[in-house]
Structures are given as structure tokens and as C-alpha cells.
């Protein structure tokens, strides 16, 4: 594998670690099976690309894309909390609605961002090659997001969100407005995914309507891989595991696709993802069996 594709894998891995952090909040902390992600990722991308293409400052465009993601998450949560639609179904409805909404926002199936300025082209120092500068900038964004989340989830509000996911009935009896906490948590989760979408279009040269397909599976894969590599209880290590999981996942994908002797091609991506997730899920099981045998 070339150095170039290694940095490429790192770059995409870091972007998807933002998705994975979002998926971690919805699936793990809130226990809300949220497929909105497949729509909020391209939503963030679409909003960002359209705004930049119309001459807006890339930083402002990225912030607005993040807020758009948050709004999508809130709508899914409101469908579930206030209109009593089953969580999974609410997120599927939002996901397919967002497909149309994203097409409307973009006005056409793709928007190239080759010549326009991006966050990365502005921040990149002259003396550094772009394929190194981009992962470096992303590392800082991801670390900032991770540390902010760590701090947030030790506040009273963050604790209330975690309690809501863990035991909603008890949380209510302790005076936690669990409905509001689900809406808030889903907003934060999808804001991260929207941010990831904005980063994606700015590094990959444009937005495409099909860029969201499979986002949820990649996010979930990263969470599961992270958890099996670094089993943890404390929030700091949990989020660290998720970020590492996303990067490792992309690294394995790149390895599989770039090794000619295996004979895999780009269209095999989803199959590789599925196999990787199965392996990550099976590892703890095998570990358990091995330790049990040792005890016998």
C-alpha cells in the first residue's frame, strides 16, 4: 500500500470517526437505533457544498451544515417522542425524506467543489502537501470534538442524557425530562454526522446525492470494532475507542482494496464492511470461550 493511499485512508477514517461518535451517542448512550445518519450525512454535505458554491465562507458553511444535521436528528426524535412513532421507523422515514430534501437543496445530483475555496485549502500551509495537511487538520477537528463530548457527558445535562438511555423510568422519577433529553441527544448525534458530511465534500471535491448510502453501517462498524479493540466503561475511553475504530476500519478497507493479490475491487466495499463487522462481533465471543476453557 502506498503512502498516498495510507494518508487517504487516514483522512476518510477521521471523517467517519465523527460519524462513529454520532452513532455511538444514538445507539449506545441513548439506545436509539437511528438510521437518520444515512440522510444527515449527505444533508451536511449538500448544505455545505451549495453554500460554498454560492460563495459563502467555508467555515460558516460548515457550521450551518452541522446545524442542519442537528435539525434532522431533532425531527426524528420528535417523531418518536411526541408522535409516538417507533424509533427505528421514525429514523427510516426521516432517512427517505432527506433523500428528496437533499436533492432539492442541491438542485442536481452532484455539485463539484474543485475550484472553490474549502476549510482545508484556507488552513493548509504553503509548504505542506495537501494529502498530509488534510488529515492533520482533521485530527485536530476530531480531537476537539471528542474532548468536547467527553466534557459534556460529565455535566449534569450530559449525565441526564446517559441516564435516559440507561433507565428511562428511573430517570423520569428523578425529574429528568426524558423526551427532551432524547431530542437533545439526537440533535448532538446528527450534528456530528452533518459536520462529517461537510468535511467529506470539502476533502473529496464535491457533493453527490448517493454519498450517504451505507453511512450508518460504516459508523456502526467503527463503533463495534472500537469496542472490541478497547473495551472500556469511562466516557473518555469509550469515545477514544470509537475514533480509533473508525480509523482502523478505513485502514483495513484500504488494505483490502489495495492488495492486488486478494483481487478485491471498489465494488466489494460493502461486502468487506459486513465481513469486518462479523469478525469484530465474533472476537469477544471467541475470547469468552477461550477464558471459559481455561477456567474449566
Amino acid at each position: 500500500m502506498s503512502l498516498f493511499s495510507l494518508f487517504g485512508a487516514l483522512e476518510v477514517g477521521l471523517i467517519f470517526s465523527l460519524v462513529a461518535l454520532g452513532v455511538f451517542i444514538s445507539f449506545r448512550l441513548l439506545r436509539f437505533p437511528d438510521l437518520t445518519v444515512d440522510g444527515s450525512f449527505p444533508l451536511g454535505g449538500a448544505v455545505c457544498a451549495v453554500l460554498i458554491a454560492n460563495g459563502m465562507d467555508p467555515f460558516l458553511a460548515t457550521i450551518i451544515a452541522t446545524l442542519a444535521g442537528a435539525l434532522a436528528g431533532m425531527v426524528t426524535a420528535v417523531l418518536n417522542v411526541h408522535l409516538k412513532i417507533m424509533d427505528l421507523l421514525a429514523s427510516i422515514l426521516m432517512m427517505i425524506a432527506l433523500y428528496s430534501i437533499n436533492l432539492r437543496i442541491m438542485g442536481r445530483p452532484n455539485i463539484p467543489l474543485i475550484m472553490e475555496p474549502t476549510m482545508f485549502s484556507i488552513l493548509q500551509p504553503q509548504w505542506l502537501a495537501d494529502y498530509i495537511a488534510r488529515p492533520l487538520i482533521l485530527v485536530m477537528v476530531v480531537i476537539a470534538a471528542k474532548l468536547l463530548l467527553d466534557a459534556y457527558f460529565t455535566t449534569r445535562q450530559g449525565l441526564a442524557i446517559r441516564a435516559t438511555g440507561s433507565n428511562p423510568r428511573m430517570s423520569r422519577s428523578q425529574g429528568v425530562n426524558t423526551g427532551a433529553m432524547v431530542i437533545l441527544g439526537m440533535a448532538i448525534s446528527n450534528a456530528l454526522v452533518g459536520l462529517a458530511g461537510a468535511m467529506f465534500v470539502q476533502t473529496q471535491g464535491g457533493a453527490d446525492i448517493s454519498m450517504g448510502i451505507g453511512t450508518i453501517v460504516i459508523g456502526l462498524a467503527a463503533v463495534i470494532i472500537g469496542e472490541s479493540i478497547l473495551p472500556a466503561r469511562r466516557i473518555f475511553y469509550l469515545t477514544l475507542a470509537v475514533v480509533i475504530g473508525a480509523v482502523i476500519y478505513r485502514f483495513f478497507i484500504a488494505l483490502a482494496l489495495n492488495s492486488d493479490f486478494i483481487g478485491l475491487q471498489a465494488q466489494d466495499l460493502n461486502l468487506i464492511t459486513a465481513v469486518l463487522v462479523v469478525i469484530a462481533l465474533v472476537i469477544p465471543l471467541i475470547k469468552q470461550r477461550l477464558t471459559r476453557r481455561r477456567h474449566v
Partner: protein, 264 residues
């Protein structure tokens, strides 16, 4: 003071499995009183408790706490007034959170949950002091996940948590039923101590007549969703379990006679 006025709840109305759980139940509990509630299965004990906590909406009637009508308030907004310990030891705590996080959650009951740190250093000292009174050695395990604790330990912590913030009424829902006899006795003694110390207005549902007479100031018996027996003071002191059983048989007999008349 808790005032329940003519509460009615019917499950599955208009279907063959229609159940009238509460049929015009009224009960007043003055401030500082400890009431034990008994009754057979299906008498409406848990339904009544869930109605007071807000978990179950009432069809009609009113629930007043210190004069404020809370009948239509959701559970979480009643929590400033109502503290509760569940029957299931697993239900009253968050197993994924640490002991100190669970206690912090309870200590902030009824307060705004903003962006201040949930667990501060000075809180830890307070929590340690509270836990030390249990004599279970939990004061050294603040950062352990509460899921690691036994049912009895979790129930004891739940009781502490319920008393961390002042409340107008403490609801205990057969909170010793899932424990072994020795642990149940420990939790019951703890209950009596905390209620006496903090002079809490308390309603304890139990299926044990012995327990109902031994603890508290007043005993109420429910049958078919109504209060059928209400004893306190000297009358209650002289009562024993067989007396209670006898009174219960009498009440039920009369009820049956009523029903027979109606059907006849």
C-alpha cells in the same frame, strides 16, 4: 400532605378484559405520617402508587400534594415533590452509571440540569458520608458501576437516593419484596430510620401484614380499588395479623354479599 380524591382508573375499558383497578379511591395522608398500604393481588395497591407518581394517568379524580393539583403533571415534573423506590432493585438505579453518578442524578432531582459538572469533589464527601451509614463498605466504591452491586445493596442505595433531596412524599413500592429475608429486614430497618430522621411523609405498599403493622403510623387496606380499612393510633397498636385477616374476611364477605344481591 397528600390528598387523593375519588380516583378512578379502568384498564382496557369496553373490552371483555376490562378491569376496574381504582373505583373512587380517596385517601388523605397528613404531613409527616408514615402509611402502610396492604391488600390482595389486584386490590389496586400498585395502581394507586403509580397514579400518585404519575406513571399511570387517572380517568377521573384529583391528586393534590400540599394543596397543589398534580393530577395532570408528567412523572418528571412531579419529581420535585415525589420520591420513589421501586420494587425491582434493578429499576431504581442506572446500572451503566457509577454509584456517584447515580447519587448525583438523585441529588439534582427537581433542579435545572445545566452544564455544571455533575459530580464535584465536595459532593463525593457528602456521598461517602451517606453511604458509610449503610455499613456496607460502599463508601470506598464511589466509582464502581452500580450494576456490580447486589440487589439488596442497590435497594439500600436507592433509599439513600430518594432521601438526598427533600420531597413532599416518599413512595415505597414493595421495595423489600425482591430481597432475601435478611436483606429485606436490613432495608426495612433502614427505611424506618431514614423516614424518622427526615420526618418524611411516606406511603409504603407491602404484601406482608406483619410488616404493615410493625412499621409506620397508620395502615390502610385496599380491596377492589377502594379503601376498606383504615387504622391508626391505639386501635392499630392492639392489632395482630390474625385480627387484620379477620377484619379483611369480614370486609370481603360483605362485598360478596353485596355482589350476590346485585346478581340475584
Amino acid at each position: 400532605m397528600l390528598s387523593a380524591q375519588n380516583l378512578k382508573i379502568t384498564f382496557n375499558p369496553g373490552t371483555p378484559i376490562e378491569t376496574k383497578a381504582l373505583q373512587g379511591l380517596s385517601l388523605e395522608i397528613p404531613t409527616g405520617q408514615f402509611v402502610t398500604v396492604i391488600g390482595t393481588n389486584g386490590a389496586g395497591k400498585s395502581t394507586f402508587l403509580n397514579a400518585v407518581s404519575g406513571d399511570l394517568p387517572v380517568d377521573s379524580g384529583a391528586i393534590l400534594i400540599d394543596g397543589d393539583d398534580v393530577t395532570r403533571l408528567p412523572v418528571w415534573s412531579r419529581a420535585t415533590r415525589v420520591a420513589r423506590v421501586f420494587q425491582d432493585p434493578m429499576a431504581g438505579t442506572c446500572e451503566d452509571l457509577t454509584i456517584e453518578e447515580n447519587m448525583a442524578l438523585a441529588q439534582q432531582r427537581g433542579q435545572r440540569r445545566g452544564l455544571r459538572r455533575a459530580v464535584r469533589v465536595d459532593m463525593r464527601d457528602e456521598f461517602r458520608a451517606h453511604l458509610a451509614t449503610l455499613g456496607l463498605g460502599l463508601e470506598d466504591r464511589l466509582t464502581d458501576r452500580i450494576g456490580l452491586l447486589s440487589g439488596g445493596q442497590r435497594q439500600a442505595v436507592s433509599l439513600l437516593m430518594a432521601a438526598l433531596q427533600p420531597s413532599r412524599i416518599l413512595l415505597l413500592d414493595e421495595h423489600t419484596a425482591a430481597l432475601d429475608p435478611r436483606t429485606a429486614d436490613f432495608v426495612l430497618q433502614l427505611t424506618a430510620r431514614i423516614v424518622a430522621e427526615k420526618q418524611l411523609t411516606t406511603m409504603m405498599v407491602t404484601h406482608s401484614m406483619r410488616q404493615a403493622l410493625d412499621i409506620g403510623d397508620r395502615t390502610v387496606m385496599l380491596h377492589q380499588g377502594q379503601v376498606v380499612l383504615d387504622v391508626a393510633g391505639d386501635e392499630r397498636k392492639g392489632l395482630d395479623v390474625p385480627d387484620l385477616l379477620h377484619m379483611f374476611e369480614k370486609v370481603r364477605g360483605e362485598k360478596l354479599a353485596d355482589d350476590a344481591l346485585l346478581l340475584g
